[in-house]
């Protein structure tokens, strides 16, 4: 019973993600979350602005249901399975983050400095989250997939383009954390 309140170790989480992909393949679909962003854009009317959004978005209803499920799953895990506990990151990382101004490191699931309610009144905070989101949305569509579509689905199918994309993910991520973070935090 105590088990559901523990964080999932990597060797359980990874296989469960692979099973998510397998289930979607076995129901005749595929595992890729970022296509939902395009679907939502079209549903909101982006098809009036350019051809890229002219497709039958209702054919993607199944994936919207998956993402709606992911919202519910997040709520269940957070509220009933102690999903909001602080990850056990190393003391070294905690100290490093504190020098960058992340006092909540080691005490919360997400940094309060970026995801606490106070961020709504911080221009810098809103800016960081908005830019982060824009880069994720733009990059995922440009690359034709995100972590699920390329790093899991594409690499599982031994696709070279997905390997190039994942190498890109890491170049971008490393540049952000090592070169840009010291400038903005």
């Amino acid at each position: 019973m105590d088990l559901i309140n523990q964080p999932l170790p990597w060797y359980v989480a990874g296989p469960l993600i692979a099973i998510t992909m397998l289930l979607l393949i076995l129901v005749g679909k595929n595992f890729g979350m970022s296509s939902n962003l395009r679907t939502i854009c079209t549903a909101l009317g982006a098809n009036k602005t350019c051809d890229f959004f002219c497709f039958d978005w209702k054919g993607q209803r199944w994936n919207l249901l998956v993402v709606f499920g992911a919202i519910i799953g997040g709520g269940i895990a957070f509220n009933y399975m102690s999903g909001g506990n602080a990850p056990e990151i190393s003391q070294e990382i905690i100290n490093e983050l504190k020098t960058l101004g992340f006092e909540s490191a080691g005490n919360s699931y997400l940094p309060v400095e970026l995801f606490g309610k106070g961020v709504f009144s911080s221009v810098k905070g809103i800016f960081i989250l908005l830019i982060g989101g824009i880069l994720v949305g733009f990059g995922a569509r440009y690359a034709g997939g995100c972590t699920s579509g390329h790093a899991i689905s594409g690499l599982s199918n031994l696709q070279l383009p997905s390997l190039i994309a994942v190498i890109g993910f890491f170049i971008g991520g490393l540049a952000m954390v090592h070169l840009i973070f010291p400038l903005i935090f």
Partner: protein, 137 residues
């Protein structure tokens, strides 16, 4: 009926994302600092098993639950779009600490500021659609 299947798969995925801490900004930061094996273990073990699943499906011509053939289409060959797109995605992934699955999971968990990230991601997708023909692919 099928709707429920998709919903349940999504719920399962959302729970895994939150409970594995793959939806935590701190875990993403730690990954890009190479200070912990956690995220690499998650992606690596998902991949190892994923390769086996797909090979088994191909080798034994396994069909969907409905008895349909399973097709795996190869991705178009190119370097530019995957590399440039990938780098842009990586910059955002590290900054917002969330990729397109977990950002919805975090919304469900009640972290309301993630709405700003989701709005940004929709805007970014839209901007890509507007600029698509001008970008090298």
């Amino acid at each position: 009926m099928k709707s429920i299947v998709y919903l349940v798969i999504g719920i399962f995925f959302g729970m895994v994302m939150l409970k594995s801490e793959a939806a935590s900004w701190f875990r993403i930061y730690e990954m890009f600092q190479f200070k912990s094996f956690h995220m690499y273990g998650i992606i690596g073990s998902a991949l190892a098993l994923g390769v086996v699943f797909i090979q088994l499906i191909k080798r034994f011509k396994i069909k969907t639950f409905n008895g349909e053939q399973i097709h795996f289409s190869d991705k178009n060959k190119s370097i530019y779009r995957y590399l440039f797109g990938g780098v842009v995605f990586g910059l955002g992934w590290a900054l917002a600490g969330a990729c397109p699955g977990p950002m919805f999971t975090l919304l469900g968990a009640g972290f309301l500021p993630i709405i700003i990230v989701i709005v940004g991601a929709l805007l970014g997708t839209w901007i890509y659609g507007l600029l698509k023909d001008k970008l090298p692919h």
